[in-house]
Amino acid sequence: MSIAIDIHNATKSYGDKTVLKGVDLTVEAGTVTVVLGPSGSGKSTLLRAINHLEKLDEGYVALNGELIGVRVHGERLKERREKDILKQRSKIGFVFQNFNLFPHLTILENVTEAPISQGVKPKDAREHARTLLARVGLADKEGAYPRQLSGGQQQRVAIARALALEPEVILFDEPTSALDPELVGEVLSVIRTLAGSGKTLIVVTHEIGFAREVADRVVFIDEGLIVEEGTPAEVLSNPKNRRTQDFLSKVLA
């Protein structure tokens, strides 16, 4: 199996507060990685650093061997131009906790916006978008506006939107945290179907059951460092680190 994402020495601080303290992580292509950790542990920052929504102070993220957001400049890594970063991001889908759908655009337009902006013919983009909407079970909602949908439906649209660029990797930042409990299932089931499709998924979540069922690998982060990683069986059922044990006992309580 080839390595899709390679993160090395990811370091980030906000003022005096160090959020990431040199994280190393590799993710194999086509696998599902679930990132766990208490709030404020740096797991969201790490996820956002992968598509360069957060700039790292030190370290790099590489996708299929290509540095994201930076390039080699003599002896140093140097920030790329925004235009080039935007191009790189189209290979990485991102699903936000708060959906962040564009409220002034219809569901269909939300999904076609990125492909059209990157030169896909509107007709082709719409056709593809309809397929994707059907896949997340919202074929009948294409003319609606986001606020007319439930949270679960909105998040499914967001997933379709992320898929529209046919990214190799999709990042999920707590995709079910903003949902009412009864809506969590429909979103997780969409993610579950993606897991088998060969895409590389990285999911930050608190849904331990989902992690156990779907993840190939579980990573536990605390205080800006990876504390423990392994298969769900290793990390979730038999955690070795005390902080992992504490966290799991609280979440599962």
């Binding site: 219809t106 269909l108 337009e109 719409r126 294409e142 003319g143 609606a144």
Partner: protein
């Protein structure tokens, strides 16, 4: 199926936005500048569209080369004489105002400017501005000469040269329902509120009376308004008892108001050439522009050849006639202007 609808909605919205923003873009522009069509050779029409203030009269006048050659070269080169009027936003009929075609800038002042331009053999361009901007126009060179009922004062002489052309008869105006009379005695002003225009001959005279009255322990309130309309409204509403301003304008307003809701009348006339120095009305040019002498020469030519009298007759200004145009005659003293 909702997509085309949504798109159409968006187009309509965009059009609506564009419409509100650009409404009227195609309309033509309106400016207060007016270029007169070249007068028929040797004839200048005065008193046009006067709304009863004057008599339309054709005056014969031709270019006088001896005077023309004394003009500054830039003015000759431009072929135009830009005549500045300070009658915005409200005019002061019959001296300078919008005529009864509701369009043409007419009045005795621009008409004399046209006559002078004809003597010079230049095309007259009448430019209307606010009172302040009239002077700025002369400063910047946008305006060659101001014909706008400007009183010659010593203060103004610091920046401008003058060529006098008219005297200044003043009048008191009251509502017709008011039986007050001036009776050539300033004592009758005691206790009144009187409006006048600041920086003028009439203001100076009024302020002198005021100080005399105050010395006797009496009062006279002198108040100022931005333009003639405001004075009229103040008079109608009883805020002021009378206004003291040039006689021609007051005569015009009285005639106009005869059949209106608030008729007015003249309650006394006072000659500007009274007890003290007379403030003359003068054509105003930028100091040392070399224009004052040619303008005075042109006016004197008009006086000698009868056109000046015709002009006075056309506007009913016979009482304001002068015998000769002087360059920089003594003006109102510094402290009053």
């Amino acid at each position: 199926m909702t997509t085309p609808t949504a798109k159409r909605l968006r187009t309509i919205g965009a059009l609506a936005t564009a419409a509100i923003l650009t409404a009227g873009l195609a309309a033509c522009t309106t400016s207060a500048d007016a270029t007169d069509t070249a007068a028929a050779s040797g004839t200048v029409t005065v008193g046009a569209f006067s709304n009863g203030a004057g008599t339309e009269t054709q005056i014969e006048v031709s270019t006088v080369d001896e005077i023309r050659t004394t003009l500054p070269q830039e003015v000759l080169d431009s072929g135009e004489l830009t005549i500045g009027i300070g009658a915005l936003p409200a005019g002061f009929p019959p001296l300078a105002f919008t005529g009864d075609d509701n369009e043409t800038l007419t009045g005795s002042e621009p008409d004399l400017g046209r006559l002078v331009a004809a003597v010079f053999g230049l095309k007259p361009v009448v430019s209307n501005a606010t009172w302040d901007n009239l002077f700025v126009g002369i400063d910047t060179g946008a305006t060659d000469v101001g014909f706008s009922n400007i009183t010659d004062t010593e203060k103004r002489k610091e920046k401008y040269d003058f060529a006098s052309y008219r005297g200044d008869n003043l009048a008191f105006q009251v509502l017709a329902s008011n039986d007050w009379e001036f009776d050539d005695d300033y004592e009758n002003l005691a206790g009144l509120t009187v409006a006048t225009s600041s920086g003028t001959n009439q203001e100076k005279i009024l302020l002198e009376w005021k100080s005399k009255l105050e010395a006797e322990g009496k009062t006279l309130d002198v108040v100022y308004f931005p333009d003639a309309n405001s004075i009229t409204l103040a008079l109608n509403s009883g805020q002021i008892d009378a206004q003291f301003n040039p006689n021609p304008g007051i005569a015009y307003q009285n005639k106009q108001s005869e059949d209106g809701a608030n008729p007015t009348r003249t309650a006394g006339i006072f000659s500007g050439a009274g007890e003290t120095l007379d403030g003359l009305i003068a054509a105003t040019v930028k100091k040392d522009s070399g224009l004052a002498e040619p303008v005075a020469a042109a006016i004197n030519y008009l006086i000698e050849n009868g056109q000046y009298e015709q002009w006075l007759d056309a506007w009913g200004l016979q009482d304001e006639a002068v015998e000769t145009s002087l360059v920089n005659p003594p003006g109102l003293p510094l402290d009053n202007s």
